[in-house]
Every structure is written in C-alpha cells, then in structure tokens.
Symmetry: C2
Subunit: 290 residues, 2 copies
Amino acid sequence: MSFSQRLAARADQIQTCLDDVLSTFGHLPVTEGMRYATRGGKRLRGFLVMEAGALFDVPDAQSVRAAAAIEVLHAYSLVHDDLPCMDDDDLRRGLPTVHRKWDEATAVLVGDALQTLAFELLAGEATHPSVSVRIGLVATLATAAGAQGMVLGQALDIAAETTARPLTLDEITELQASKTGALIRWSAEAGAILAEADPVPLRAYATALGLAFQIADDILDVEGDAAKAGKRLQKDADAGKATFVSHLGLDGARARALALADEAQAALDPYGARAETLREAARFVIARDL
Amino acid sequence: MSFSQRLAARADQIQTCLDDVLSTFGHLPVTEGMRYATRGGKRLRGFLVMEAGALFDVPDAQSVRAAAAIEVLHAYSLVHDDLPCMDDDDLRRGLPTVHRKWDEATAVLVGDALQTLAFELLAGEATHPSVSVRIGLVATLATAAGAQGMVLGQALDIAAETTARPLTLDEITELQASKTGALIRWSAEAGAILAEADPVPLRAYATALGLAFQIADDILDVEGDAAKAGKRLQKDADAGKATFVSHLGLDGARARALALADEAQAALDPYGARAETLREAARFVIARDL
C-alpha cells in the first residue's frame, strides 16, 4: 500500500468513527455544522496518532478514538480561526466556511461543541481500558490546546499584527511551535501514551515534523494553487507578515524544511523498520502540493 | 456563619485557586482576558460543588479544583454568549464584556482557552488521587457542556428566535434544562463523584434547583434593577421571547419557583441536617434580588 493509500485508509477509519459518534447528536444547525466541519482534510494529525500507536501494536479501535479527538479539536480551531473577527475566510477545504454556510453564532457554537467533544471522546471507555491512560490523554491534550499551547500561538499571531516590527525567525519558530506544533506533537505522543511507552523519541520526531510542516505551509502560501488548496492563499504576503519564506527566501525555506524532515526521520531510529510509514509522513509533509 | 457569608467564603476559596492556576499563564491580552472573565460573580456553581462535596467530607483542596473548573467553564460560556454575533452584550457583572474591553478575536480565544482550562483542571492530580474519579469528572462535564448539554440549549435558544410561534412551556423547560440546567446538575453531582457516592439525590436536587434558578432569572429580567444586576435586563421582553413569566405570569412564575425550591430541599432528605446549607441555597436562588 502506497503512502497516500495508507493516509486515505486512516482517514476513512477516522471518518467512520466520527460518523458513529456524531450520529447520536440530532439535526440542529449546530450539530449539522459539527458534521460539516469535521469532514474532509488529510487527517494528518489523526494519521500520526494511529501510526504512532501502530509502532507499539495499539489496537486501531483504541487509536482511532484518539485520532478522532485530535481531528475534532483541530476542526474546532479552524472553524473559530475562519470567523470574520479572526482570519475572515470564506473557503475551507474547497467549501464555504461554517459561518458562511450558516452564520457566525452557529460557527462559534460548532467550534465550542467540537472542543468539548474532543475531551468527551478521550474520556470514553472505548478509548482505552486504563483510566490512567485516558486521563493522560486528556491532560496532555488540554495542555497542548490551551493558553500555553495552540491558543498561545494564536494569541502571539494576533499580537504580531499590531507590533511595529516584523517577527524575527526565532519568534516565528516559537509562535509556530505553539500554534500548529503543539497539536502535531500531541498526535505522535498520543501513540506512545496509548501504549504506556516512552514518548520522547516521538516527541522529537513530531517537533521537527511540525516545524517542517509549517515551513512547507509558508511555501505553499506563496507558490500554491488556491483551487487545489481549497482555501485562500497569499494571505501572509498580503498582510505583510513575516514568514519563514520572507526570512529565508524560497530556496532557504525549502532547504530548512528538508533538513527538518531528515531530523524527524532520524528521531525514529529506535523503532527501526517499523517506523517506515512515519518516515514517509515526514517526507510527505514537505512534498505536499495541495 | 450566614448563608451569604458562606457563599462569599466559598467564592474566595475558588478565586484563590483560580489566581494560583492563572498566575502561570503570562500576560498577553488572551491570558489577561482569562483572568478578567473569571473574576466576580456569585460562584453559585462552584459553591454547589464544594457544599455537595462537604456532605461527604470531600477535602476542600480537592473540591475547590472541581469548583474552579465549573466556574471557568461557565465563564467561557458567558464570554462567547456576550459576543456581537450572539447576545451582543456590552456589560457583564457591571464591567465591559471581554470583546468590548479587548476585541472580538480576543474574546473568542479567551472563551476557547477557558473551556480547555476546565478540563485541564479536572484532569490534574491535585483534583483527586483516584484517576477513575478524575476521568468521571471529565466525562460528565463534557457531556453536560457539549452539544447534548449546554451548547444544545444555546442552539435551541437560537433556533427559537427564527421560529414563527413562541415556545411552549414544555419547550422552554427542555431548553433551560440544557442551557443552564446541565452545568448546575453537574455541579451538585460532582460533589458525589468526588466522594464516589451515589449522585442520584443530588441530581434530583439540582434539577429542581436549576429550573427554579432560571424561573427566578426570568422574573429578575422583568422586575430587576440593571444597576444591581450589572447587566442589561428586559432582554427577553424586548426580543418578544416566550419565557416562564410570559407563560405563567409573574405570580404564577413565583409560585412555580417556590414549589421547585421546596422540591429541591425535599430531595436532600437522605442527608438530614448536614444538607442545611444546600437547602439554604435552594431558598437563595429564588430570593436573589441582584
């Protein structure tokens, strides 16, 4: 099975899990919006959970719930990020954003309820028989998602818009380590948490992978095709924001992303050949053309 | 100690806990907004957690964390409810709402991070030595707060605004059982969960108390003093919304609230004299004049 087939197969498993969970939620705009906002996407975070779990033979039936949880949390952050008072985006994954399809109030509530659902999924018995494992997943996701993780990154991003000078490379790296890095790190670590294994090698892998991912995103923002990406591009340049590309140039950014992908792959040495799919993921995140 | 002194003393304990937790969060607008949004208020929900816990001799050091969690979750719901796209309120607890003091983007993030913090608090070891108890708190709060609890109530409330006919009394009762009732029920039940005791009597108590609270709120919305309440009143009448008062009249609503407060007190019979403070709470919620 090729890497892209494997990515698609994991996405299907995660979608089936989400369909099951969301089938119990009725048919108000808010619950329809929850289904809408959690469809599509590459499911990279959920894929990392399941493939990291597979290193330790964690059953799919367990890891798919943690994968669904991180995808639901990621979806909440996108729905709120797209709001008029935030990035004001009309398009996401090629479709109208939630506040464009319904309205802003529904989008606020959809995001709110999706965040709650992430924790509900992790806390559920089906996620793992051990309550220690489940509470570990909840506690680490809360730290990754909150005001010392993802929301911190978003807040730094907003603060940067009102600062007179552009961010330095170190500041952008720190911002991204929170804004997108925290959830990507959690995704890989969750595989180890589910197995009650040492999360340190996976954390090193995901730290490098997350940064490579973000640099590739900056490159795509400049070079990408909006129709393929399914969202507005050139946003950073239009806003005059400092990015990895504005600091390093396109070639420099590509070289940096490549070095980080190599670093990510090297961090997987302790797992030998079993980690080949995760190594492919590191090569994939810098080669996306979506 | 009088009831109002006891309420104030619990509020102080909860504030101290929140101050400790939030002291580690830095000084961006989003973290300042989290502190701002979690100050003040009666802390009724946190009070219920701690007093319900006290029935079973749960140490304050444990119950105060669950109390802080529900207050933080309640604060998130208020910050998002006040947004221009929701209730569009300028004043909360006598002060500018978060989006008026900062901006809408900050208010969205403040609410988001407060929700995360609620689950982080519950998952933390200091909340209870037993991981089963902590996962029980997380799972039940997620159910109470999400699209089958509080957010469901908010969604029903929004849906009601676009319905041609006013809601029936049964529909209002159902809506409020989710919108405000779910968190109040969780608060009382959390005391039993912390003690690994039967939550059923406390659930019956809090179900009646929550409805009495909401009817009293509808009465205050008509009769109250906006300066004392620290928020805009007459909102429902101005919006032409059906309420307990529009259905039952003022006297009918008062009689219904009184009957529910009696029902709440009766549900505490299994706990005898120990439950006197919770009984006073039931009388308090229908006698508030703030």
